[in-house]
Symmetry: C2
Subunit: 360 residues, 2 copies
């Protein structure tokens, strides 16, 4: 992975390179975000990343809505020991009442730190980057664990994540011509279809009023909802389907029981979060961690990083269902931002903020 | 405490008000930072604050120097239940090799979050604010626990914290006319004296080559070093001295043993950090937490917040030594930044950053 450091000249000032979402997008067009994410996944698989315990706080706003802030530090060491390590943080906050006000639920900023001075050196809009790394992970899982061929994809949930996934599908899977979508709010599905058309993405969009109808419409199902209650049964999925269980609480336990193969991003992260279905099933012993087996019980094959390093064989859906269940890792944001920053530095994108101002 | 929210109009955009150090300083001149800190201390004493576990990571840079990043979330609820709560985060990073490169050891940024949308709403240079809240805590402790009268103050350690303390002493204790200083690097003590003169602060500065000489030169001793090894004995302090043990590892255990009175900011924070002397002494039972006593053993009286609320009586130095040992709390940064932001909003200071840029 190509990381980089802040030019030496900037270490004696107190400057922060600010990349707004438009600047991040410009840089992303010039890099391969899936390759960037795969480099971090490989690094994670061989212990070249650090993911310290996150800072977390939550509260209820004046409308009674749940609000939270998560501060996630992370670092990714380059495979080349001479290259600098990428250190950074993602601050991502959310309020469940935001969508009703016309805002994305989550938003925030991500940082890169100068590896020599530890100073925050890059500040970037985080929600797009976060959606991008999530989508890039899905693309990588599809590439290695998805059906050999597919022309149709199902997206359940039509928010910001669906848009990023659609952009990445157009970029990485040009054979895909049709999207099947579902959202609890029909107007959101309609708005998504309009957005696809206006964006010039090469997809016909079919909105389904029932999630199960959408999930049965293709052999690639990507869940991008905010549900905390499972709703997809094994019968809602065609034989030979790959499910990217991005939103983590859409699949009912029976889907895991009957899965042909199951992959994650990090077993421990999933185990530590029993509020999500797979964490709960692991805790109950209904799904097993890699290395243990029991007749009739599903064992997690390993991580996508393990697949990328060759430590674990990939398995694509045959007559059964293959599930990818990525918890989400802030090191992906940090590693991706390092790539974005390298591009920004090379091409002069972004704005320099002087932290001291006139005070010197 | 006067907190505030971001104007409603900004909640539907993705804007961040950026306050560089100069803007923060301008706002600070128009507020009472000691009153702001005392409001937060009172809030903390009665359970109106939250201090979630911090995010922490550390590494070694190419020079072999220790680097670290700390992400500290915090919130302060106003005494007025109708007023909004201040939510925020302080990201403060440091490298021990920075001073040799002409940089402050620590630097970073602090945030306020919109209580309704949870979005980061204010971004401010953190090191000055952090030094200011530290200094303001010292001023408050001096006001309530210091000698009734004093005209001379000792500062041990002549870095950025010494400068902030000198500015606050000039503002809050106009009777003080002389500073006694010591630094392991004599040139740093000289640079501090030059800075005092150039800044027009009303102090004569005497540099002492020995710490014990400086500490014995006045009845107010403020430790502002980066030591992790104690060096001050009870004999190095005059009877009737107040010690603000800001840098937390300057006093030898015997000073605590013989203290006439001992106050902290938060007993639990100190107990959880046995790397610092008072945390270690608490763990060993050599110093006791409030509510327990043992003949011949020092018991922590309580917190400065308890003194401010009247829950614990203040005790000024008589013939003995009174010690204030503040661990440091990110809620002070958050509460102080809320006041700074209120001033910035009222007077139009700061720059608006658009997180989305041209991407809408």
């Amino acid at each position: 992975m190509t990381t980089h450091t802040v030019p030496a000249s900037s270490t004696t000032t107190e400057q922060l390179l600010f990349l707004d979402r438009a600047a991040v997008r410009t840089c992303v067009a010039g890099i391969d975000p899936v390759a960037a994410v795969e480099d971090v996944l490989r690094a994670h698989a061989v212990g070249r990343t650090e993911l310290p315990a996150e800072g977390y706080t939550s509260w209820t706003n004046s409308q009674g809505a749940y609000c939270r802030s998560i501060a996630m530090l992370g670092s990714v060491r380059d495979a080349d020991p001479a290259a600098p390590t990428a250190y950074g943080m993602k601050l991502i906050n959310a309020a469940t009442s935001n969508p009703a006000q016309g805002m994305d639920r989550a938003g925030g900023v991500s940082f890169l730190f100068d590896p020599e001075t530890a100073r925050p050196a890059v500040l970037a809009e985080a929600a797009y980057l976060s959606a991008l790394r999530t989508g890039a992970y899905t693309m990588s899982s599809l590439r290695h664990l998805g059906p050999q061929q597919f022309e149709e994809v199902t997206l359940i949930g039509c928010g910001a994540q669906a848009r990023t996934h659609a952009e990445l599908l157009a970029r990485y899977f040009p054979a895909v011509g049709a999207l099947h979508v579902h959202d609890l709010l029909p107007e959101r599905a309609t708005a998504f279809a309009t957005w696809v058309e206006r964006s010039g993405l090469p997809f016909t969009v079919t909105a389904h009023s029932q999630a199960a109808e959408a999930s049965a419409a293709s052999t690639v199902v990507i869940t991008l909802t905010i549900t905390d209650t499972g709703y997809l049964t094994p019968d809602d999925l065609r034989p030979g389907t790959f499910v990217a269980h991005v939103s983590l609480d859409d699949l009912l336990p029976e889907v895991f029981d009957r899965a042909q193969a199951l992959y994650v991003d990090d077993v421990e992260l999933i185990r530590e979060n029993p509020r999500r279905v797979l964490g709960r099933l692991l805790g109950e012993g209904r799904v097993l961690a890699p290395g243990t087996t029991k007749p009739g019980t599903t064992t997690i094959r390993g991580s996508l990083g393990d697949v990328l390093t060759g430590a674990v064989p990939p398995e694509r859906p045959g007559d059964g269902i293959v599930v990818s269940n990525p918890f989400g890792m802030a090191v992906l944001d940090v590693g991706l931002l390092a790539r974005v920053h390298a591009r920004a530095a090379a091409e002069g994108h972004g704005t320099h903020l002087d932290l001291l101002g006139a005070d010197r």
